[in-house]
Symmetry: C2
Subunit: 254 residues, 2 copies
């Protein structure tokens, strides 16, 4: 009976698949984990028990599992995230104060933009990004900025993955995206209008480190009403420049 054979994934991949099952979910039952990770119940049971023993997952009183403190501890010192957030915070706070809109700081993470920080005023636009969430590169301001300065193979991969059109206005074709990326590289700023959320626009700018590499993006998301206000794009630009400069970037240096 049974035994042997099994699926082709390595054990390590199965272990990670369990972690991935928690994407977008705070709490999962064993069978939900097994389902999301595509594992037989007994295999999931054993591996989840190892996660719990290590402390990477915790079991609540209700028997459900959630991400454990060990993972938080391991990740909270992640060098990129830690350094960027610390350096950027004052600039993001200034930007919030001067615009009273959602302010974001994001880095590229594979084919997504991961939000390192979000500050929000009493804005009218519903926010879909939260710290730690991941949104598509081609349909967000920060995403487009990060995509524009990423190595070319990232763009190839994105095309191969079949970018989704979230709204009628979302650009998903190669030609359109290439044109847009060139424009962003030449102007140093990205504007999206109702491409992910109806009624919202975003303005984003790149953050560079001392070597000149773009390692993050800053954006503001606000109601389309305010699209014409020049101080918003100016503010984003200034914040991105301020952070870059705090990271050691000097414009016009070889």
């Amino acid at each position: 009976m049974a035994g042997g054979g099994g699926d082709r994934r390595s054990v390590a991949r199965k272990v990670f698949a369990i972690a991935d099952a928690f994407t977008g979910r705070e709490e999962l039952s064993l069978s939900e984990i097994a389902g999301r990770a595509n594992l037989p119940l007994s295999t999931a049971h054993r591996l989840v028990a190892e996660w719990v023993e290590w402390g990477g997952l915790e079991r609540g009183d209700d028997g459900n599992y959630r991400v454990g403190v060990r993972v938080w501890r391991l990740g909270v010192r992640q060098p990129t995230a830690m350094r960027l957030r610390r350096v950027a915070m004052p600039y993001l706070e200034d930007l919030l104060e001067s615009t009273h809109e959602h302010v974001h700081l994001a880095i590229r993470d594979g084919l997504g933009a991961t939000y390192l920080e979000r500050l929000s005023g009493p804005a009218a636009v519903p926010a879909i990004s939260d710290i730690g969430s991941r949104l598509p590169l081609h349909a967000t301001g920060v995403g487009l900025v990060l995509l524009s300065y990423a190595p070319p193979e990232v763009f190839e991969e994105l095309l191969a993955s079949g970018p989704r059109a979230y709204q009628p206005g979302t650009i998903t074709d190669e030609r359109g995206l290439r044109r847009r990326m060139a424009e962003i590289r030449s102007t140093g700023i990205a504007t999206t209008v109702e491409e992910l959320t109806p009624g919202a626009f975003s303005i984003a700018a790149p953050v560079r480190d001392a070597t000149g590499e773009v390692l993050a993006a800053v954006s503001i998301v606000a109601h389309v009403e305010r699209l014409a206000e020049p101080q918003i794009s100016l503010g984003v630009r200034m914040a991105a420049r301020g952070i870059s400069s705090a990271l050691g970037y000097r414009a016009h240096v070889d």
Copy 2:
């Protein structure tokens, strides 16, 4: 040749051992990882490659490995840490403002106290705790509070693990620790004097949730000179009570 046999650990444990190798280190080479995780180089190589593929580890330009953004993303939403920090922050800020000393928020994590938050004024005492760091239960204020309210088996495990004496004043024997824990439970406050760091003392108090369970501790660490000032212990008490009450705890309720 070779092959077979090998060490008794499951693959999952080896995967986690690699993560643990990064405790207290930001960056490691492959051979350092192999050494710290007690794995043959070839095994470490394969498993580290799987970590990198998943995104839990990242490889820098220098070839060294560091914790990846994926881990940060997974952990940053850890329910306990996220909720506690958000709720506690204003109280911790008040405490910092009124005392100008190191303010800590910590939870128990196995036999250690993990620091969820630390705010620091221009204090004279060198701080050894940073966010995400883990210090011993029996030699810190927050640790003693967490230990005092933890299930009895935690204390048994601590004794079995052979608690280390960091300073001449550190209490490590069962009798002394039991007496101390009883005192903390009856007064609701813990004081340590030069038990981990010479010249420093700490005052800590428990934070409770709506069910009355102690799930965190707040402390102040300052120079022994200020030991006698009553407003410090009062401030810690008030902060802990404020956070507890924000979490839904109502004192003197059945």
